[in-house]
Every structure is written in C-alpha cells, then in structure tokens.
Symmetry: C2
Subunit: 465 residues, 2 copies
Amino acid sequence: MIDLDLEADLAAGFPAALEELKRFCRIPSVSTDPAYRSGIADAAAWVAARLRQAGFPQVETIATGGHPLVLAEWHATPGAPTILVYGHYDVQPPDPIANWTSPPFDPVVRADRLYARGVSDDKGPLLIPILVAEAMSRRRGRLPVNLVVLIEGEEESGSPHFEPAVAALKPRLACDLAVSADGAMWRPDLPSVTVASRGLVALDVVLTGAAKDLHSGRHGGSAPNPLQALVRLLATLHDHEGRVAVPGFHDGVRPPDPAILAAIRQADFDPAAYYAGIGAVPPVPMPDGDALLVRQWLEPTLEFNGIAGGYAGPGTKTVIPATAQAKITCRLVAGQVPAAVLDAVRRHLAAHAPSGFRLEMPGHGSGTPAFALDPGLPGLAATEAVLAEVLGQAPLRVAMGATVPIGGVLERQLGVPTVFFSFSTSDEDYHAPNEFFRLENFRRGLVAWARLLDRLVDLPRKREP
Amino acid sequence: MIDLDLEADLAAGFPAALEELKRFCRIPSVSTDPAYRSGIADAAAWVAARLRQAGFPQVETIATGGHPLVLAEWHATPGAPTILVYGHYDVQPPDPIANWTSPPFDPVVRADRLYARGVSDDKGPLLIPILVAEAMSRRRGRLPVNLVVLIEGEEESGSPHFEPAVAALKPRLACDLAVSADGAMWRPDLPSVTVASRGLVALDVVLTGAAKDLHSGRHGGSAPNPLQALVRLLATLHDHEGRVAVPGFHDGVRPPDPAILAAIRQADFDPAAYYAGIGAVPPVPMPDGDALLVRQWLEPTLEFNGIAGGYAGPGTKTVIPATAQAKITCRLVAGQVPAAVLDAVRRHLAAHAPSGFRLEMPGHGSGTPAFALDPGLPGLAATEAVLAEVLGQAPLRVAMGATVPIGGVLERQLGVPTVFFSFSTSDEDYHAPNEFFRLENFRRGLVAWARLLDRLVDLPRKREP
C-alpha cells in the first residue's frame, strides 16, 4: 500500500518544506524562561496557522495555566481509526549562546543538516505529519484515518499543565492510538523504536547564609559560606561509585524488561566509542558497554544540571556569597513514584543540611513517571514495519534515558498507548549548542509518516469514534 | 602641635572634597575584569591629575605588566623624614548589580554616608592625604615631611605586578615609614590599629567531562557530570567541622601573637550580634565569641568564592554541562608560605580528582604572605596617639582577617614597616553591593592625617633621604 505519487509530491515539495521549517525555527519559543514569552505565543500561532493551511477543518489554540496547546481535528473518514499525533513547539534555552557556530534562532543548512535551536526537538519532527496530511488531502481529497493533532508548549519545562488540559479535553481527544512525533531515534546507524523511557522530577536546592555578600578576608572563618555548605550537602547525594545514596529513592524500582536487556546485548554498545563521541576522557577502568547502556536506559539518576553562587567572572573576587543554589533533576525507572522520589530527596537534604543556613527546595511541577509500552501492541508492529521498509533494516526495540511525559499522560487520561515515531536522532545536540536536524531524515520522515498513516487504516478500533 | 587654622581650612573645603570624591567614584575602575579597562586608565589619570593639582612637583603614571601605578614625589623639606603613602584606585566588581539601591558608579549621599563602589575601599581613604598635603602647602607654603605617594591599580586582583614595580622603583621609593590609606578600621564603635593581617593565595578549579553540553535524559548515568565530580572533589577540602583538611596546608603556621589574643579578650566579641549583623541564622551550638574572632583573624581559611556550571536561569534545563568550575581563595597566617600552600592545595585536588575528567587549576598571581608589625615601632605609636586624640579613646591593637599585600612588599623591597591609617570601617560593604563610606570618618580622617604628618616630623630617620 505504497503511494508512489504521494511520495513524489512530498519529494517535490521538499525545498518549500525546508523553508517553512526555517521560518518555524526563527521563532524563539523557549518555554522555561519568561523572557521568551512572546516567542511562545508566536510559535503557537504559527503552528495553528500551519494546521489550518494544511486543511484541518478545526484548529484551536487552547489556554492552559501556562503556555497554550494547539489542537487540530480532522474527522473526515467515518469508520476509520482515529490517530492522535503529539508534538511540542517549545524549545530548550539556547545557553551558552557563545558556543553556537551560527545564531540559535537563525537557521542555516550546513552539510545536509539544518542548524537551529529546536529544529530536531521538536519543530522538524512535528512539522512532518502536518506536511503529510496536507499532501494526502491535496492528492486524494481525503485522509486514510481521522487525525487529532495535539501540540504543546511546555514539554521542555516538564509539561506542568499538559495532563490537566488533556483531562479537560478528553472527549475531543478520543482516539485508537497516539503517535508521538517527539522522542528521538537512538542511533543514526541503527533503526530503533523506543518502547520505554525514564521519568523525571526536578527541584532546586537553595542555601542562604548571611543576608548579603561578605568580604572573604574580613569574614572568612567566621561567616557561613553557603558554597561550602552546598558542596558538602550535595556530596551526600551519591556514594563513591556515583550511585544515588538517598534513602527511599529506589523504592519500588522494578527489574529491567528482559526484551530491552536482550536488545542491549544485541546493540554491541562500545564504551570507548561512546566516550570518544561525547569528547570525554574515559574513566579508568573502562566500564563494560552493556552495563553503561543499562545505566543510561534502565537505572535512575540524580543529576546536577547547574550550580551557581558567588563570582564566576574573570580573575578573582574575594567574596562569601549570601546564597548558593543547585538545580537537580532525577530520571526515574519503572516502579518509582515521582512524588515519593521528590519527598525522599527533600527529606535527605533537610536531614543533612548544616545549621547556620536557610534551606529552600522549590520544585518544578509534579514530575513524570517512567513509561513502558505493551510489546504486543498492533500500532507498534505497524511502526516497526514502516521503519523496516524505509530504513532497510528491522528496528531494535530500545529504551530511552530521556523522558517523554506524554506516554503516561495519554495512557492515564485517554486509555491509549503511544508509539514514538520521530525522525530526529539522539546525537543532534538538542539540549546543547549547535542543535541540528538531518535533512536526510526529514525526507525519510515524510515518506515514513505517509506509509504509517496508510497502514494504520487496518488498526483494530479501540472505541467508537 | 595642632594646627587649628589648617583644620578650619579642611572643614571649609569639605563640600568641595565630597564633590571630588563623587567624581572619582564615577570612574568604574574594576581591576579584575578586562571589560573595565578604560575605567582603570581613567582612574589612574584622575589620580595623577589630582596629585599635580595638589602641588606635587613630580607626578608620573608608571606602566607595569598590568594596570599602571601612579607615583608622586614631594621632597621639599630637606632633613625631614620621608613618608610613603599607599593607596589603590582600583575597585571590586559591582556584581550582583541588581542588589544595589543606587547604581554602583553613580555616587549618592544618604544619611551622612556616600554610597558607591570603591568609595570606602579605597577611593575615599586615599583621597584624604592628597587633600591634606594640598591644604598644608596652601596655608604654610611647605609640608612638614617629604612625601612619596604610591597608588596602585591591582589591589583588588591580588597586586600581581606591585612587588616587581616597587623593586624597580627602589631608589625613588626610599623612605622612613610607609603609611597605608588602605586597610579598614575594625569597628565603628571601637578605635583600633591593625598590626597583623592574613595573607592570600587564589586559584580556580576547572573540571571538564564531555566536550560539549549533553542532554541529561539521553546521557544521564553514563556521561561524566563535572558538577557531581566537582562537588565531591571540593567536599574533600574541609573536614566535618569546616577546618581545612589539605595535607601540608598548615605547614609552618606560627602560634597567634599573645598581644592580639589579649585584645580579642578585651574586645568582648558577641557572636549573637555578629550573626545578627550579617543577617545569618546562627549555627547550633553558638560558637564562643573569642574563638570566632580567632577564626576570623588568626586562622587560615580555604574559601569558595564562586561555583559555576550548567544552567542557572529560571525553570529547569536538563543538561549535563561540559565544564564546572570553582574559584578558591585561601587566607594565610604568619608562617605559611603562599607557594607552598598553593602546591598543597593543587596536590590534594589532583590526588582526589576522579578519572574521566580533565582537571585544570589556574592560579592568580603568586599570593601574599601574612603580615605582622613590630609592636615597638615609633610610627605605630604616632598613629595610636593621633587616633586617641581624634577619636577620643586609645585604640586597640587588632589583627585583620583581610589581606593587604603591601606590608610585606614594602618590608621586603624597601626595608620599611607599614602602619595602617585608613578611615574606612570594615562594615562598609566594600566587597558587596551598596558599599558606602561614612562622611563623619571622611571629616575625621582629614584632621587625623594632618596631625599625623605633623607628628611624624619627629620620626627617627631610618636612612638618608
């Protein structure tokens, strides 16, 4: 059921599609920083307009407690399955901006890659199904399935308003399967589908000593130094092997899925190549490759994402700062409860905080549990079949260290599973300077989404439309 | 030998002196940050011009490897002692600028205090002897002593070029006593002279993991996190009581001077008032006041002045940064050798650094040893007598936690002792936002410097002029 005419249309339209993606990437839609508020509004409006232009008869920008959702509905094929397509229009902060070769919001093609903040995560991947729906509608006058497209604007800040919004929109989001255009493919050389991902909770640790910055000569030895206290406090969170040492943190952790362990053995993960790839000196002794991948996919973490306090400029400043802070995120595995993990970390920090300091531990949302897909899911089989065709090789079923909160949300709220069908690749620096998207995968993604939607016509119906 | 006419002139000239100090403080002469290079040049030129205007017949701006020195000479009184006056025109960085009530380089008087970066450390205090020399010359046509004024521009960055410059200028700096206009008085309510100060060495610690920032979801658990490594490494530098735990750090430390211990007992230092004064929650149990002051004045420290790495903005950013860094300064006491302390800290850090990271430890100059004055020094007796007159109470001999490198430099290079005669007070936030200088002390300082110069006519001559 391959529509070669449609695929020719998509190929012919590619130069225009690339220009559109550049326009989308010029909008600085950083969700986590209030300074980019107008970029968020512009990106939501851009997505809504693009969906209307593609032919979606019903497109709406929906206010949440935070950044708006864009919801588009196209129920034009009675009796066919309904597919919910997920993506997000928000992007990571561009810092450190000085490390970008070209400006983060000025997209540039170099060596068949488009460089821009958000191009791989998730503006390129989410644009693909919209372009495919438009092409299908133009050539055939109809879509093979009913589509509900839901694009959020807070994925990069932990989707704090997504679940309540989905709950409120339940009837309009009813569907047979969710397909996420977010969630990168693992390796450029190895087709894969992601069947599990880690969860996430986030909190800050803020220690305050004096009410103002003090001279470290006059006060050193007598005044509380919150940097010194923070260092000592944070060092209690891991043991000497780097494992999380917080009582209660691992409560409920389930053993890893044997299917994923089998994929790990098959993947032949090379630790030396991994460290070379990220440009790091390998540790001594070199870890076993399988064990390293288990740590990356299947074990929880407690990671410091930022520490700040005092003077960080050139030269020296003999200051004892009033305040020091750290930003922490924890990746969770199946069985861990986000609220319980947050509680455990806060209890540990409070128990180990020294006297003479004020401790604050503000959180960022309620967190996301880990996600795991039913191995027998028909929608999963469909995505695997399409990837085998388009990429020429049967994909591995892999886990993902990163967090895509929507799997759990759509399962809980709509009772549907989510398959991940993104054409970004996890080496595309999407949380670092010089984020890029491979144009080869942009082209392949258009073909693959077209074939997937055609194939999903045969999806067993979960519920009445 | 009090010249009431001269003191009347100084009082009459005070409003103009205040305006001049404001002009001086408008020049942003931050020595530690290259962004302020033109402020440094402007401040040096301002000081040189002001010395010429005061009547100094020979004024020169002298290039060093770093920021220039200003040297003024007035050898107009054959047979009289020669006094070298020291000060510095550079200032601390103004960060965090947001915490200033009025802009740091826009001087404002509030409640008989002048607020500006550098007003207390050291622009106000160094302007005083220049104004006094000018007033003496105008009223009497001569100075009581010969004056050499040496104003440097790198005090706030550890004076890296000061000692070689003094060595090169030896013949022109020959003198009988050095008097420093830098080095604050201890407490506003208790006259004191400083007879000892701690030394200083500075270094940075930079840990690098991967070559670029990484996504903490994809890489968390497998990629090296330099923040986690830095926290663990820095935590080894102190023991559980907060004492420095670096082998070799305390080598050579001499027991505290009994005279200063006696002053500490006499000072009746109140720990509860100290913590209240800096706005900190006191530790439990409350430390003994004398012990706290011993720690502040007479014990060495290893202080973190800044830690930076990763994301520090609003919200969250799920990043594993490539690099994390800390800025460290150590205060030294009598007997510690700066180079040996730096070596000990570097050896300790290198020994405890985990594998899988690149460790760099750039230094900032060669450091400054601690300083201690001969208790029987005639110049010290002269300053004490003047302070007793002007402040109405015999001053205590105290130590200082902070570092004034010049004492050691002038001792080594010129063979002269340095007495500290500054009219700033150590609570004037001179390394923090909202630095101020008490105008009352500006007025008193003018009188006191006039009386001191007159009194130093009788100083025993150390060498031929």
